[in-house]
C-alpha cells in the first residue's frame, strides 16, 4: 500500500537515497536495517514529508504523497517517531497527547482525553499524565512518542530506533506492545540497530546501504546473506 519508486534524495554533494524502489504491503511488520548513513532515517523523512524527494514518487493507497506536507501525511494515517525523541518538553504528557488528537479533527475534547488516558494506561505512563514531558526518562519519552502517534489510530507506523537507550525490561514490554499493534492490523516499519529485537519481531527485513536496496526478505534469509554481512563490514549480530 506504500510504494516508493525510484526515490533520489541529495544533500549538497551527498546522495542519501539512490533510485530506491521498495514497497510495503498493509499489515506487514518490516524491519529497516543497514549500517549508519545508509539512508534509513532519510527514507522515513521522505515518507513522512519532512523531506521532498528530488526524484521519484511515493504512493500511499494510490495517492501520490511525495510532495505533501508532514501534517497532511500524518492525517492520512502515517505516524512517525524519531531517533531523538521529539516530544514537547514544556507541555504536560497529557497535552502532548492532546495535540495529535486535536489535529485529527473529528474528536471532541472529552473523547480525546479519554483516548489519551487509555493509551497512557496501555503504555503505563498514566501516573505521569500531568508532568511536563521534560521530566520523563529517555525510554519513557520514546513510549510517549508512540502514544502520540497512536492517538489517531494510524494504519502505518514509522518508528525510528524505538529501542534506543531503553532499558531491557521496558524493551520487552515495548516489543510486546508493537506485536499487539501488529496483530491488530497495523503496518509497522521499524528502524533499529537492536538486531535481537529486530529478528524477534519483524517478519520481513529491508536492508539499505549507501542509499540503495541491498536485499529484502525474511529475517533468516537476510541474516545469512553475504551482502548484508559485507554491508555491515563484519559486524557482530547474533540472533
Amino acid at each position: 500500500m506504500l510504494y516508493l519508486d525510484g526515490i533520489v534524495k541529495d544533500f549538497g554533494g551527498l546522495r542519501a537515497l539512490s533510485h530506491l524502489t521498495v514497497s510495503f504491503e498493509e499489515g506487514q511488520f518490516v524491519g529497516l536495517i543497514g549500517p549508519n548513513g545508509s539512508g534509513k532515517t532519510t527514507l522515513l523523512n521522505c515518507i513522512s514529508g519532512i523531506y521532498t524527494p528530488d526524484e521519484g514518487t511515493i504512493r500511499f493507497q494510490n495517492k501520490v504523497i511525495s510532495k505533501l506536507k508532514p501534517h497532511r501525511i500524518f492525517q492520512l494515517g502515517i505516524g512517525r517517531t524519531f531517533q531523538i525523541s521529539k516530544v514537547f518538553n514544556r507541555l504536560s504528557v497529557l497535552k502532548n497527547l492532546r495535540i495529535p488528537g486535536l489535529t485529527e479533527g473529528r474528536m471532541d475534547v472529552k473523547t480525546i482525553d479519554k483516548r489519551a488516558e487509555e493509551i497512557l494506561t496501555a503504555i503505563k505512563l498514566d501516573h505521569l499524565m500531568h508532568e511536563p514531558a521534560a521530566s520523563l526518562s529517555g525510554g519513557q519519552k520514546k513510549l510517549l512518542e508512540i502514544g502520540m502517534v497512536m492517538m489517531i489510530d494510524p494504519r502505518f507506523l514509522l518508528l525510528d530506533e524505538p529501542f534506543g537507550g531503553v532499558h531491557p525490561e521496558l524493551k520487552s514490554q515495548l516489543e510486546d506492545y508493537l506485536l499487539r499493534l501488529h496483530r491488530a492490523g497495523k503496518t509497522i516499519i521499524l528502524i533499529s540497530h537492536e538486531m535481537p529485537s529486530v529478528f524477534r519481531i519483524c517478519e520481513r527485513l529491508v536492508v539499505l546501504d549507501h542509499g540503495t536496496l541491498v536485499i529484502q526478505g525474511s529475517p533468516e534469509a537476510v541474516r545469512t546473506d553475504e551482502r548484508v554481512i559485507n554491508a555491515y563490514l563484519g559486524g557482530n549480530y547474533e540472533a
Binding site: 513522512s48 514529508g49 519532512i50 506536507k69 508532514p70 501534517h71 500524518f74 492525517q75 512517525r80 524519531f82 521529539k86 516530544v87 514537547f88 518538553n89 514544556r90 507541555l91 497535552k95 492532546r98 495535540i99 495529535p100 486535536l102 489535529t103 485529527e104 502520540m148 502517534v149 489517531i152
Partner: protein, 313 residues
C-alpha cells in the same frame, strides 16, 4: 491566570481617572498604547517563539493608514482605526509568508529589514506622508482625555481577552507546540504554515489597532513610530513584565511608562536605563521582573496569614 489580582487591577484602572487628571491621564494613555504593543508582541515572541522586530512598524502601518484615510477621505475615526488594523494584518500576512521557512535569527533579521525599509518608505514618500514632518491627525473625541482613556483601556482589555482566549484554545496549544518543536508539531498533524500565518496576522492586527489608536490620541504620526528604538522599548517592556505572560507584558509597559515620567529629567538616558534593566532581567531573571515581584508579594502575603513558626524571623 491570576484571576483575582487581575480583576483588582482592572478596578484600579477604571477608577484611575477619578484621581489623576490631564497630564497623568495622558501618560496613562500612552502607557496603554505600549501595553497593547507589548502584549501582542509577547504573544508572538513568548508564546509562539517568533521574535519579530517589525512590530513597531506594524503599529506605524496602522497609524498611517488610519491617518491618511481619515484626512483624505474624511471617514470616521473608528473606521480608520479598524482599517489600520486590517492593513497591519495584511502586512503581517506578507511578512509571515516571506519568513515561512526561516527560523530564529534569520527571521528576526528579515523583520528588522522590513521595519527599516518601511520606515525609509515613510520618510521618502513625501507626497503621501510628508516625510519626517509627519502628518497632523484629527483627535478622537475632540481630545477628551477621559473618553480616550476609557477607549484605550477597553481596547487593552479586549486585546488581552481575545489573546487569552486563543491561548487557551486548541490553537494556543498548537502554537506552543510549534514553539517547542516546529517539525515535531508538523509531524503530529499541526498545519504549521497556517498557524504561523495566523499568529503573524493576529498579532500584527493588534499592533495596527494600537497604532491607529495612538494616531488619534497624539494627533501626529511620524516615521519615528517605526524606529528600531521603539522596538527596543517594546522589547524592554515585555521582557521586564514577563515575556511569557501577556498580562505581565502589558503591566511591564505601564510600569515602564510610569518610570519614564519619573525619569523626565534624564529622558535621554531612558533607553540606556531600560536597556540595562533588560540585560539584567535576561541574565538573572529571564521570566521577567514583575512575575518575580508578584511571587515575592504572594510569599510574603501567605507567610503573614500563617502562624509564625518558631525560629523564623
Amino acid at each position: 491566570m491570576k484571576r483575582l489580582p487581575a480583576f483588582g487591577l482592572l478596578v484600579l484602572a477604571i477608577l484611575f481617572p477619578l484621581f489623576y487628571k490631564d497630564y497623568w491621564l495622558y501618560v496613562a494613555v500612552i502607557g496603554l498604547y505600549y501595553a497593547l504593543l507589548s502584549s501582542s508582541w509577547s504573544m508572538l515572541a513568548g508564546q509562539v517563539g517568533i521574535i519579530s522586530f517589525a512590530h513597531a512598524a506594524f503599529a506605524a502601518v496602522g497609524a498611517y493608514t488610519s491617518a491618511i484615510l481619515v484626512i483624505r477621505l474624511q471617514i470616521p475615526i473608528a473606521v480608520g482605526i479598524l482599517l489600520g488594523a486590517c492593513a497591519a494584518a495584511g502586512f503581517g500576512y506578507l511578512i509571515g509568508a516571506l519568513t515561512l521557512r526561516m527560523r530564529g535569527p534569520y527571521l528576526a533579521l528579515t523583520t528588522l529589514g522590513f521595519a527599516e525599509i518601511f520606515r525609509i518608505f515613510l520618510t521618502a514618500e513625501y507626497d503621501l506622508t510628508r516625510g519626517s514632518y509627519g502628518l497632523q491627525v484629527p483627535l478622537m473625541f475632540a481630545g477628551n482625555k477621559i473618553l480616550i482613556y476609557y477607549t484605550g483601556l477597553g481596547l487593552l482589555v479586549m486585546t488581552l481577552w481575545v489573546l487569552y482566549l486563543i491561548l487557551d484554545s486548541k490553537i494556543g496549544l498548537f502554537l506552543q507546540a510549534m514553539r517547542e518543536d516546529e517539525d515535531g508539531a508538523a509531524t503530529r498533524g499541526v498545519n504549521t504554515v497556517y498557524y504561523r500565518l495566523y499568529a503573524f496576522v493576529i498579532t500584527s492586527a493588534f499592533a495596527g489597532l494600537a497604532g491607529g489608536f495612538y494616531a488619534h490620541v497624539v494627533g501626529l504620526v511620524s516615521p519615528r513610530m517605526a524606529l528600531i528604538s521603539e522596538m527596543g522599548l517594546i522589547l524592554a517592556m515585555s521582557i521586564f513584565g514577563g515575556l511569557e505572560s501577556l498580562l505581565g507584558a502589558a503591566l511591564g509597559a505601564i510600569v515602564l511608562q510610569g518610570l519614564t515620567e519619573y525619569l523626565r529629567t534624564f529622558e535621554e538616558w531612558r533607553l540606556a536605563v531600560f536597556g540595562a534593566l533588560v540585560l539584567f532581567t535576561l541574565r538573572f531573571s529571564p521570566e521577567g521582573i514583575l512575575p518575580k515581584l508578584y511571587e515575592l508579594a504572594n510569599a510574603m502575603f501567605h507567610r503573614r496569614s500563617q502562624p509564625v513558626k518558631a525560629g523564623s524571623r
